[in-house]
């Protein structure tokens, strides 16, 4: 392939993924509201379109048309920049997550991932650590004490849980012997899913990603009774929408990451059982990836509407005294598996 062809194919992949991604972010807000109403025994949005299906578009237009208020006490350049940092981090992480196997289309061999990077997992960890900046800058630049406290809480929480997140990934890397997400998915062939082989690592990673995305039961940064709205108290209009979108985009990214690392990515055991080949196999594998993400998203939302919020010291205790030792235990477990049982 010439350079032009590679560039064109990559651009097509980026456009396709971004459009699917943006649409699913918009609709995950809708599903959040629908599942919330299901959990609370009420109807939920049902006015705009059939069963409220056009609600996301109505919401976006409402936010676009609202007045953008920048507080007097704020630091204007950073106040404007913060939501963009949050969005940039959310969107750029998706580049290394594979959503299907290698396929042949029009004579080209195409890998169904935007960038097959050797060190993809480290890339994801590095970018999630940048996500702290969007929130701290938002909290600091707003010039309000609620925002500042929310921002500080959030960054302390994210830094703490990053540790157990990184260590849980260690077990996956040990088994796959590679840092590339593509290889990690290939290593989980059939039922060799990491969630089955190393359940402790799966649980610590899952809990850490709840904390990293600031979702309940770890949503202390925006605890309404204490902090008004947390780090985005002083934001309005599309800048607020930026944070809102970033939160849901992060949820989808976390689901995709959990799927890739622990639930076999696009691996679909049915394809092997029934010996399906060609286009149908690829379609089933990409479909399996989507279904796994959708189920995890449902889990994220389900937990939010079922559990109460942790207290701040409980959150830190859980992160450092429970999750971190468990993640270390998981690494030892995987090492024993490799050395003794020769997996």
């Amino acid at each position: 392939m010439s350079i032009m062809e590679i560039v064109v194919i990559t651009l097509i992949k980026i456009v396709a993924i971004l459009s699917v991604f943006l649409l699913s972010v918009a609709y995950s807000v809708y599903f959040e509201r629908k599942i919330a109403s299901w959990a609370q025994n009420r109807v939920g949005p049902n006015r705009v379109g059939w069963n409220g299906l056009l609600q996301p578009f109505a919401d976006v237009f409402k936010l676009l048309l609202k007045e953008d208020i920048v507080p007097e006490a704020s630091n204007k350049p950073l106040h404007t920049l913060a939501p963009f940092i949050a969005l940039l981090v959310a969107f750029s992480t998706y580049a290394v997550i594979p959503f299907g196997p290698e396929v042949e289309l029009f004579g080209y061999k195409i890998n169904l991932v935007v960038a097959d990077v050797n060190i993809g997992i480290l890339y994801v960890l590095a970018f999630t650590s940048i996500a702290v900046y969007g929130i701290t800058f938002a909290g600091w630049s707003s010039g309000s004490k609620y925002s500042l406290l929310g921002g500080i809480r959030s960054s302390a929480q994210m830094i703490s849980y990053e540790v157990s997140m990184g260590f849980s990934v260690g077990g996956v890397i040990l088994l796959a012997e590679s840092l590339s997400p593509v290889k990690i998915v290939e290593a989980q062939h059939g039922w060799m899913w990491n969630a089955i082989i190393q359940p402790i690592g799966f649980i610590t990673f899952l809990v850490s990603s709840f904390a990293e995305t600031n979702r309940l039961p770890f949503d202390l940064p925006e605890a309404e009774p204490e902090l008004v709205g947390g780090y985005h108290t002083e934001y309005s209009s599309m800048k607020f929408a930026g944070f809102f979108l970033a939160e849901y985009a992060n949820m989808i990214i976390s689901s995709a990451l959990i799927t890739t690392l622990y639930l076999g990515g696009w691996q679909n055991p049915l394809v092997d059982i029934f010996h399906i080949q060609g286009g149908w196999a690829v379609a089933m594998q990409v479909g399996a990836f989507m279904i796994k993400i959708a189920l995890l998203l449902f889990f994220f939302i389900w937990v939010r509407w079922s559990l109460p919020r942790f207290r701040y010291d409980q959150l830190m205790n859980l992160g450092w005294k429970v999750m971190f030792p468990l993640a270390l235990l998981n690494i030892i477990w995987v090492a024993v598996l490799i050395m003794v049982f020769k997996i």
């Binding site: 630091n75 350049p77 950073l78 920049l81 990077v117 050797n118 060190i119 480290l122 890339y123 960890l125 590095a126 970018f127 650590s129 940048i130 702290v132 900046y133 701290t136 800058f137 909290g139 600091w140 630049s141 010039g143 004490k145 500042l148 921002g151 500080i152 960054s155 830094i159 990053e162 840092l179």
Partner: protein, 167 residues
């Protein structure tokens, strides 16, 4: 000028420009943000030199760790006590003499050294070779560094530990 050169100069511009901003700006939080860009510029140059692992470690350690700590410190001291911390310019004459001498030294080294360079093949994976070297040739240093970090961790924990209240 090839595409490679253009990209290199772009990253170099980002790095040097934002580094200039770090030292010239009066607002400390702005300086911290400019430092973020500097680290990214350096990471970009690493990627350009096919040192992808180093680039990511640069972002993880400096951007994700050290700079977060700096910003934390600045944020906690700056607004909560409502005392604006600004940096000023002091001792202009002494500073410019020292910097002038140092600059002359660096430039003269740059000009008069016979730089030895040779084309190197791009390695397929950088992380694998690096890991192998670390636990074979440099195993002792690697372990000693781990001990050092452990000691630092224990020290931090003992400082942060709550004092036992005397009953």
């Amino acid at each position: 000028m090839t595409l490679y050169d253009i990209i290199f100069y772009l990253f170099a511009l980002i790095t040097i420009g934002s580094a200039m901003l770090v030292v010239t700006t009066k607002n400390i939080v702005h300086a911290a943000f400019a430092l973020l860009l500097t680290f990214f510029g350096v990471a970009g140059i690493y990627v350009l030199l096919a040192a992808d692992f180093l680039a990511i470690v640069q972002i993880m350690v400096y951007v994700g760790g050290i700079l977060v700590l700096i910003i934390f410190g600045v944020m906690l001291t700056n607004k909560i006590t409502s005392v604006e911390i600004k940096t000023g310019t002091l001792n202009v004459l002494t500073a410019s003499i020292v910097i002038g001498v140092f600059m002359g030294l660096v430039v003269s080294i740059m000009v008069w050294t016979g730089w030895y360079s040779m084309p190197a093949p791009i390695p397929a994976t950088t992380a694998y070779g690096l890991g192998e070297t670390l636990i074979s040739d440099y195993a002792l240093i690697f372990e000693l560094l781990a001990m050092l970090l452990l000691i630092a961790l224990v020290g931090a924990a003992s400082i942060a530990r709550r004092e036992k209240e005397s009953l």
